[in-house]
């Protein structure tokens, strides 16, 4: 029975009589003796049996929460009716709580979500202008033919890069995601780097380690004595793992939560440090100040594992290199001052050194002092170890002074620093919100340095952005040919013409004063980067988008959408539901959702389990939905046919060379073989084939087989899955054990954890060692605007779910501090207009004592279609990028999955006013 029936069968007048009002029992009756007539109890037993269905499968929800939880799915008469966590993950060892029952409030409503009114049932083609909302139903054949025409047209008329086939973060599994990736790779289409397109790059970690995602399996929390939650709210955003935090606290861990508002995780912490929005880097520098002041330095660790003993030329501000000491010397050999020999010594483990180990041998690198070395031209060069410069920088940030900036009392900082330094094992968790402030990079780099100073690495913990496993063997499936892999943040900024809102929202002089650079500098660096090439492939003319809510997630929402649509000749959206992006498409294709196709996910490192979706036998797909793999196949067939019709056999791709022996020739985008290539000559016809292929070809899944997955819904990854450490079967996973214990060099330019960068931009801006950068939000508008992750969706997924909206207020609201609201005569539930020079949106007010005065906050990723005029909260976020993150082509700061940037989502300011309800 749905709600309509509920209404009609009860009648509104009846409800008025049935509810409300006083009612007092006249007497307390004697307790009845059950008459024995309990046969009715079978009613609920029968209901229970019904909810177990007539067939069962397994699933996970492969979205961008990365939680990856195994669920049992119950179906009846071909329809999913309920899901329940499998709750059968084996324990790691007896002293670590097990991982059960992983799975949250979003996963548990998917059986409703998949049949909800926003579900796409058939291929649709727009009638009238884009976004008008009028649709006609078309057949799959018609749709695929039209798409093929548009894509082949774009590729032949404008070049291969004019086609973008992009799979967003709505699907992050290895199975379903493989279809769009493989098709795009064969065609030479461009695709964005999703992590930077959504603003999830941890560039502070990249600076230090050459790796953006580092960390632990989250059961490692349980082993900690101290945990710093920095800009992360795991009780809301890491629900399946949050128990390791609450259990760690019981177990004696001191938890310090750093966030501008009093989050549910702050509530569960030992202390909450209410940092003012965007000032985190000051707090981080102050943490370094206290650690250095109090001598919390693990000297053996620092000497061997970091570049802190490396010598810096005090005359030029560059690291001392071999070429400085000898004509024609090496560029990648670095030095420390050897206290044993009293002279500069080349450091083993740096790329130019013949010893590929971090072991220092007889060298005893100095950690302080100033020295002189003889330059190649015979002149003396003044040098000092990096740590000397770090000390000088940290000295500028005593807790009392930074308190004025951060709002955090020195007593809180001192307590945190002491707990952290004294902990045997400590973890600093960096949340995804931190790098949405410009200061995120420096905060994280400084946090990495705090871990380095105190020797928190390997079994002793360390920095945690997000752990990922290393799964081999996927390449031949998802990337059979080279694709145009584009920088996410840079492409979105350029495609969305975001310079416009940047220029308008950030007046040059104040921006320069706060950041050290202005809009003109940003644009100059963008131009230089485009001239160098390699990370941007131009605005797409044909866009085939899988599971990406592009018009929801991008900043300067309205301007972005207009700029992108303006140049698109073909816009196709593939999704299981109508989202705020599909509303603007030319053609919409209905995809299967999380329970209807085989899938597998194992790369996400919060835990060691690789989950498999096994649809319940007999499950009917919803409407005419097809799996992403089948859609890719259909597109390959249609594109091949369209090319044949135009007598095009293949297009040579001049941007990529295929090497054969000593000959190189352009990669051929071969339409005649497109279908055979897509299916590996017929081997991979279905999503089930793809999962079986992965289970057979990814060595980290061995010895498990598809049969095991069919029985249990998950398998356990092997020790080889660890990226910087082994994934031991009986211990939580820690990062960098291969570096710390086996002394293998790090993936940085220096070969060590790196805290000195002598890139010209870093030198010019004073960023060569970690330092504090300031919030950039303009004073034009009085309120900081930031948008933390929500409890009620994974970004926009499940955000429009009726079950979940009933547990909220049914429509978007913004959080206001009660005093802030009162000053504007705003009361609970009032309708507000939130605005600035970038745009505006409307939402209700919710008064929250947890929110700081001077801020307008809304939990992020409401769908724009939930707002009046279908304009969402990103309408007030200007398109700003960070200059640090635009640096490219230098050592480990070269565009790849470990080095790209973010749109700065939390650096805009707004005003608001009450509007009539």
């Amino acid at each position: 029975m749905d709600r309509r029936e509920f209404l009609t069968s009860t009648g509104l007048c009846g409800l008025g009589l049935a509810f409300g009002g006083p009612l007092t029992a006249l007497a307390a009756h004697a307790a009845p003796t059950p008459s024995g007539a309990r046969a009715w109890e079978h009613l609920y037993r029968r209901e229970f049996a019904t909810t177990r269905g007539d067939s069962q499968g397994f699933a996970f929800h492969c979205s961008n929460c990365q939680g990856n939880c195994a669920w049992r799915v119950f179906a009846k008469n071909g329809r999913v009716i309920r899901e329940e966590q499998v709750a059968a993950y084996p324990p790691v060892n007896p002293r670590i709580p097990d991982a059960n029952p992983r799975g949250c409030n979003k996963g548990i409503v998917h059986s409703k979500e998949m049949y909800q009114g926003d579900r796409l049932l058939n291929p649709l083609r727009r009638k009238g202008r884009r976004g008008a909302g009028a649709w006609e139903r078309i057949s799959w054949d018609e749709a695929l033919r039209a798409i093929a025409q548009g894509t082949v047209e774009a590729m032949t008329r404008h070049g291969l890069g004019a086609l973008m086939v992009y799979c967003g973060t709505g699907i992050l599994s290895q199975g379903r995601r493989a279809g769009p990736l493989r098709l795009g790779s064969l065609l030479g289409a461009q695709r964005l780097y999703p992590a930077s397109a959504v603003g999830d790059m941890f560039t502070g970690a990249s600076l230090a380690y050459g790796l953006a995602t580092v960390g632990h399996s989250l059961d490692a929390w349980f082993e900690c004595d101290a945990i710093l939650l920095w800009g992360i709210n795991p009780l809301v955003t890491r629900m399946p793992d949050a128990h390791y935090l609450t259990e760690a606290r019981y177990n004696g861990a001191r938890i310090h939560a750093i966030s501008p508002d009093y989050t549910p995780s702050a509530k569960a912490a030992s202390q909450w440090l209410p940092v003012k929005p965007g000032t985190d880097a000051h707090l981080a520098m102050s943490l370094l100040h206290v650690l250095l002041r109090d001598g919390h330095v693990d000297e053996a660790f620092v000497r061997e594992q970091t570049d802190l003993p490396f010598l810096v030329r005090l005359d030029t501000g560059d690291l001392l290199r071999h070429r400085d000491l000898r004509q024609g010397g090496k560029d990648d050999l670095y030095y420390a001052w050897d206290e044993a020999s009293g002279k500069a010594a080349p450091m083993p483990g740096t790329p130019g050194h013949f010893k590929k180990t971090l072991r220092l041998g007889e060298i005893r690198p100095a950690l302080g002092g100033r020295f002189e070395v003889k330059g190649a031209n015979g002149k003396p060069i003044p040098v000092a170890p990096v740590l000397e410069l770090v000390r000088a920088e940290a000295a500028k940030f005593p807790p009392e002074a930074t308190a004025k900036v951060t709002g955090v009392h020195p007593a809180q900082l001192e307590r945190m620093a002491t707990d952290f330094a004294k902990a045997r094992k400590a973890i600093i968790n960096i949340g995804f919100s931190l790098h949405k402030y410009v200061s995120g990079t420096m905060t994280t780099w400084a946090a990495a340095l705090a871990c380095a100073l105190t020797g928190h690495a390997g079994e002793r913990g360390g920095l945690d952005t997000e752990n990922n496993w290393s799964l081999d063997g996927i390449g031949p499936l998802s990337s059979p040919k080279p694709a145009r892999f584009a920088s996410g943040f840079l492409s979105e900024w350029l495609n969305g013409d975001m310079a416009m809102t940047m220029r308008r929202h950030y007046p040059e002089a104040p921006l320069k004063a706060a950041a050290g650079y202005d809009g003109t500098d940003i644009e100059r660096h963008v131009r230089e980067r485009l001239e160098r090439g390699g990370s941007y492939y131009g605005k797409p003319r044909a866009l085939v988008l899988f599971a990406d809510n592009m018009f929801r997630r991008n900043k300067a929402e309205v301007q972005y959408r207009e700029a992108v649509l303006k140049d698109l000749d073909l816009f196709v959206v593939v999704n299981h539901r109508m989202d705020s992006t599909a509303l603007w498409a030319d053609i919409v294709l209905p995809a299967t959702s999380h329970y209807e196709a085989w899938d597998i996910r194992g790369e996400l490192g919060y835990h060691r389990f690789c989950n498999v979706t096994v649809p319940p036998p007999g499950l009917a797909r919803v409407g005419e939905a097809r799996s992403e793999w089948e859609i890719g196949l259909g597109l390959a067939q249609a594109i091949a046919a369209e090319a044949a019709r135009r007598n095009i056999e293949a297009i040579p791709d001049p941007d990529f060379l295929a090497q054969e022996g000593d000959k190189a020739a352009p990669v051929m985008r071969d339409f005649k073989r497109l279908v055979a290539d897509y299916t590996m000559d017929g081997k991979l016809a279905t999503d089930a084939d793809v999962v079986a292929w992965l289970m057979t070809n990814v060595p980290q899944i061995a010895p498990w087989t598809p049969e095991d997955a069919r029985k249990r819904g998950f398998v356990v990854l092997s020790p080889d899955a660890g990226f910087t450490s082994p994934l031991y079967a009986n211990r939580p996973y820690n990062s960098f054990e291969r570096n710390v214990y086996l002394r293998q060099p790090y993936k940085t330019m220096s070969g060590r954890q790196q805290f000195f960068i002598d890139h010209p931009v870093f030198k010019k801006q004073g960023w060569s060692v970690p330092t504090a950068t300031n919030p950039l939000r303009p004073s034009t508008y009085p309120f900081a605007f930031y948008t933390p992750h929500t409890r009620w969706g994974v970004h926009s997924q499940w955000r429009a779910n009726a079950q979940l909206l009933r547990l909220q207020r049914g429509e978007p609201y913004v959080w206001l501090n009660p005093a802030t609201a009162k000053a504007k005569a705003v009361a609970e539930g009032d309708r507000l207009r939130v605005f600035n020079d970038t745009g505006e949106f409307r939402a209700r007010a919710k008064l929250m004592p947890a929110v700081p005065p001077g801020a307008v906050v809304t939990d992020h990723a409401w769908e724009p279609f939930m707002f009046e005029g279908r304009t969402g909260k990103n309408a007030v976020v200007a398109g700003l990028m960070s200059l640090i993150e635009l640096v490219d082509g230098w050592g480990h700061l070269t565009f790849d999955p470990n080095w790209d940037g973010n749109m700065l989502a939390h650096e805009s300011s707004v005003d608001f006013e009450k509007v009539p309800s």
């Binding site: 549910p264 209410p274 009392h409 429009a800």
Partner: protein, 337 residues
């Protein structure tokens, strides 16, 4: 003699995610006139709660007499189970936003994360609530039809739908307002402690599916079970609203909180959650319970063992549920699930 199955909910492990709420909903209350009901829900405290104002709605015992009670209103106090205009908003011309087809006035989580106090010393915590399967149920006493009974084998309080005539005296009498009138069936319904699951050895949906691992289930007389140990032995789990006299069988481990900050921003020694708020909910023994919790955590911080903390940590999810009935003389029988 009635044996009693009981539950302990650890408020330090509840993350407010409502997975329990939704587990219960899809197990029992998404159909047949129950759509507006939440047999289990989580509310933010302090707040008006769910149904709105339930703490001021009367019910319970005054000695041997039932106290008067008030029936909550459907729209204003429970909230109507909203449907949404998906078709109009997403598949029709125009730019109508997605909205409930009827305005929402209240809901089970309306005052989520609001709490009370002033920044930076705001405070709140999550309070999951379900039928307490009381040992002295006011609902049972209030029913003129004798439709409500307590099962001898497990103490679960049930409403016999064949005897119930929908008079709703039970709704008014329950001080927790955890009985709901089904306007479609014209009878009252409530949490059944998932007896059909329990009878098959599967713990309650709310407990088994709690991703925060906050819920323990055991027999009250099982001395090896979490209920006996936390309630009777260590006295850190307390009933909600003991003053109502119904003798609940759901118990709560009270919430800790980080220190508040003084005017300069320095952490103080006072509790962030005011004592009177907690005493108002759990009675005066909550102070000793909190002190005990803090002392045992301090032991762990000092590297000393604590059996109580080990139990609250709950190393094995499956062991949080001891559903097998221990024999009175043989302790610690094996557990199911």
């Amino acid at each position: 003699m009635t044996r009693q199955l009981a539950m302990v909910i650890d408020l330090n492990k509840c993350i407010g995610c409502q997975t329990c709420t939704l587990a219960c909903k899809s197990q029992w209350s998404d159909r047949d006139g129950r759509q507006f009901m939440y047999w289990n829900h989580v509310e933010t405290t302090p707040g008006q709660g769910y149904p709105r104002g339930w703490r001021e709605a009367g019910g319970g015992w005054d000695g041997d007499r039932l106290k008067p009670g008030r029936l909550p209103r459907l729209r204003e106090d429970y909230g109507f189970p909203a449907d949404f205009n998906y078709d109009e908003a997403l598949f029709r011309e125009g730019d109508a936003p997605l909205r409930p087809t009827q305005p929402m006035l209240w809901g089970p989580n309306w005052d989520e994360d609001q709490g009370s106090g002033e920044f930076p010393n705001g405070f709140f915590f999550y309070l999951p609530r379900l039928c307490n399967h009381c040992s002295r149920p006011a609902c049972q006493a209030a029913c003129p039809r004798q439709a409500i009974y307590k099962r001898a084998e497990d103490g679960i309080v049930l409403i016999d739908p064949e005897r119930c005539r929908g008079y709703r005296y039970c709704v008014a009498a329950c001080p927790y307002k955890k009985i709901y009138f089904n306007p479609l069936a014209e009878r009252s319904e409530k949490c059944i402690f998932c007896y059909p699951r329990l009878e098959k050895g599967i713990p309650q949906a709310c407990a088994f599916q709690c991703v925060g691992r906050a819920r323990h289930v055991a027999w009250r007389d099982d001395r090896e079970g979490a209920v006996w140990k936390l309630v009777e032995e260590w006295k850190v789990a307390l009933p909600l609203g003991p003053e109502h006299g119904t003798q609940p069988n759901v118990f709560y481990v009270p919430p800790l909180s980080p220190p508040p900050l003084d005017a300069e921003g320095r952490p103080t020694d006072a509790p962030r959650l005011p004592e009177d708020v907690l005493v108002g909910l759990f009675g005066p023994t909550v102070k000793a319970a909190l002190a005990r919790l803090e002392a045992e955590i301090a032991r762990r911080q000092a590297g000393q063992p604590s059996a109580m903390i080990d139990l609250l940590i709950a190393f094995r999810h499956g062991e949080m549920f001891r559903l097998d009935r221990p024999q009175p003389k043989a302790k610690g029988q094996g557990e199911k699930s």
